[in-house]
Amino acid sequence: MPLDRRVLLKSLALGGVAATAGAAPAVARGRKVAPPSAMGMLYDATMCIGCKACVVACKQANDMPVDPGPWGESNLYDAPVDLDGKTKNIIKLYREGEKSSYVKQQCMHCIDPACASACMLKALDKDEVTGVVAYDPAYCVGCRYCQLACPFNVPKFEFSKAAPKIVKCELCRHRVKDAAAKDTDGFTRYPKDQGPACCEVCPREAVIYGTRDELLAEAKRRIATFPGRYFEDRVYGEFDAGGTQVLYLAHVPFEKLGLPKVGNEPVSQTAYAVQEGIYYNLPFLAPVGLYAVLAAVAYRNRRAEAVGTGEKEPKS
């Protein structure tokens, strides 16, 4: 009995160390940066009037079906309650007493997207030039791991279909035909009808698009020009979740608008530190090493057993 325990504990310790070699140092991956011509959007909640023209424009540009929402007994033509398999962009209302604000929700096009980190065959992948997180259903198995990963709850799944896909904003990349060029107001824009439909239709320019650097500069300019107007005098998405290409300005707490406190680390940081620490940092050393150890021990034990009992053939 005591022998059992000692051997057991020793081997457990060995096995544990071998299995998680590298997890303790948890090597942090190099922090990703946005590509130089990363395209993004800037949404200013203080300017949004909630007209929802962007919701309609998105549906038309992406050929989405209408979604009569669950609004009790009523039969509204297209009234989604949230992003879903038929809605890539939505306006929601936050109201608490006298305070209220609209918020536009869609994919944040993170600099280090958790959804792409989750995807096995890179069906969700970040474009190297524009930084748009694109979806290719050819490589999607519908495992929905991306839905678990995204801290903003963005990718939606067509649960009601027999041949479902993941649905999310892709910054209208299917409309782009020509190169983007600097516009008269200083932002890099595509020709008409090639940029994100929501930005092109907004009557108040509450949501605009351009390169991330231009939008960040514009957001900071607004904060500097109107001190006290914007919450915490900061741009949400500058560093949040490792930085996103869709930036937000608001006059109410970001959390109230459904923009969570996620810190400045990419969401996948810990998981990848562990996974890459075990498997990829010293490429496959841990598994190969463990295999060698196991094979060696098993071999030695069988030899000893065969010799010890005098049997010619060790059993299987």
């Binding site: 009523s74 039969n75 033509y77 309650v81 609209y102």
Partner: protein
């Protein structure tokens, strides 16, 4: 305000019809406003009429039901129909003519010669083209011949009604006569189309009077329909639109929603895809005298792709949707827990664990049993 008393001919005209000048001016300005022309235009009409300068109109009838003519006649407050006929010179109209036969044909010929290049040719009804167009013959000539001849020297050609605009009901499948609209039979010529079944008479009135007053045609869309009447779809100006936006739909003819005048979209209203101004200008000069106003969904009578092609009560796509006036909350409740499922899971899980726990007792016995009796177990 000019005095008309000095013009004897016009006074006599009005006396005969029981109208005084005030009525006349009111009706003229109303007519002008109805077609989007300034009130001063109405004054010019009266002026021209008094001088006897009336534009010549030659009105051809082919494969039609005469509904468009009837619709025009129903614009009568006392005397308006006659006034219209007095503001223009209706030189050929088979329905309204007292004359017939050779006299009528002679009138047509002389009118064409006297006003060559200036007369307005109004076409009512479709033109059969199969078998050289023998399916409609007037006075021994096919509609095809007649139209080509009259249109040749017309100053303006107006196709009134869906039949003349794109073929209408005679062109419904299988279209045995090869019925077509006037624009398809007159390629290369500008043919103003005023579709509708029947067409809204004010649309014709406005077009003809604009031509008569200014010598120009109103702005046309890519199907040659006047934009002032066909630039928007019914859905955009429908009085029942608030019901659509709020999701109040008629589900069945005669139900409570129907009695309350709710939106007819689900009953197959083609309003969202039909270009027309019926919702703004009702028929027969009676408020509410139009299909939706009487409680029946629009059938899309101006549109070739809809009328006689789409089932009357099939729903149509919304072409230019607008969002509803409701806002989802930041966090909408989703998902629920079914009591049945919870019960089922609890019962099965608990039963298995409990059964295992109790069965453990039966397993008890302690010593190893080396016997291998006949198998009766599971």
């Amino acid at each position: 305000m000019k005095s008309w008393d000095r013009t004897d001919a016009l006074s006599k005209l009005f006396e005969d019809r029981g109208l005084d000048r005030r009525d006349f001016i009111r009706i003229c300005t109303l007519a002008a406003a109805a077609v989007g022309l300034p009130a001063s235009v109405g004054v010019r009409w009266a002026d021209a009429a008094a001088k006897g300068l009336k534009p010549s109109v030659i009105w051809l009838h082919f494969q039609e039901c005469t509904g468009c003519t009837e619709s025009l006649l129903r614009t009568s407050h006392p005397g308006l129909a006659e006034l219209v006929l007095d503001l223009i010179s209706l030189d050929y109209h088979e329905t309204l003519f007292a004359a017939a036969g050779y006299q009528a044909e002679a009138a047509l010929k002389s009118a064409m010669e006297a006003n060559a290049g200036k007369y307005v040719c109004v076409v009512e009804g479709a033109i059969p083209t199969k078998d050289n167009g023998i399916y409609c013959k007037i006075g021994g000539r096919t509609a095809l011949e007649m139209l080509n001849e009259v249109a040749d020297r017309a100053g303006a050609i107006i196709a009134l009604g869906s039949c003349a605009s794109w073929g209408g009901i005679p062109s419904a499948d299988p279209n045995p006569t090869g019925a077509k609209g006037a624009p398809q039979v007159l390629p290369g010529k500008t043919v103003v189309t005023i579709p509708g079944c029947p067409a809204n008479p004010y649309n014709l009135l406005g077009t003809v009077l604009q031509y008569a007053t200014f010598g120009t045609l109103p702005a046309l869309d890519d199907l040659a329909r006047p934009r002032f009447a066909y630039g928007r779809v019914i859905h955009e100006d429908c009085p029942r639109r608030p019901h659509f936006d709020a999701g109040r739909f008629v589900q069945q003819f005669g139900d409570e929603g129907h009695r309350n005048g709710w939106c007819l979209y689900k009953m197959g209203c083609k309003g969202p895809a039909t270009h027309a101004n019926c919702s703004l200008k009702n028929f027969c000069e009676v408020d509410g005298a139009w299909p939706i106003g009487t409680g029946h969904p629009c059938v899309g009578c101006t549109e070739q792709a809809i009328l006689w092609r789409m089932p009357m009560h099939a729903t149509v796509d919304i072409q230019r949707p607008m969002p509803p006036d409701t806002y989802p909350p930041i966090k909408a409740e989703q998902g629920h827990i079914s009591a049945v499922a919870a019960g089922l899971a609890g019962v099965v899980g608990g039963a298995l664990a409990g059964a295992g726990w109790m069965a453990a007792k039966k397993v008890g016995g302690g010593s190893e049993d080396k016997g291998t009796g006949p198998d009766k177990g599971a």
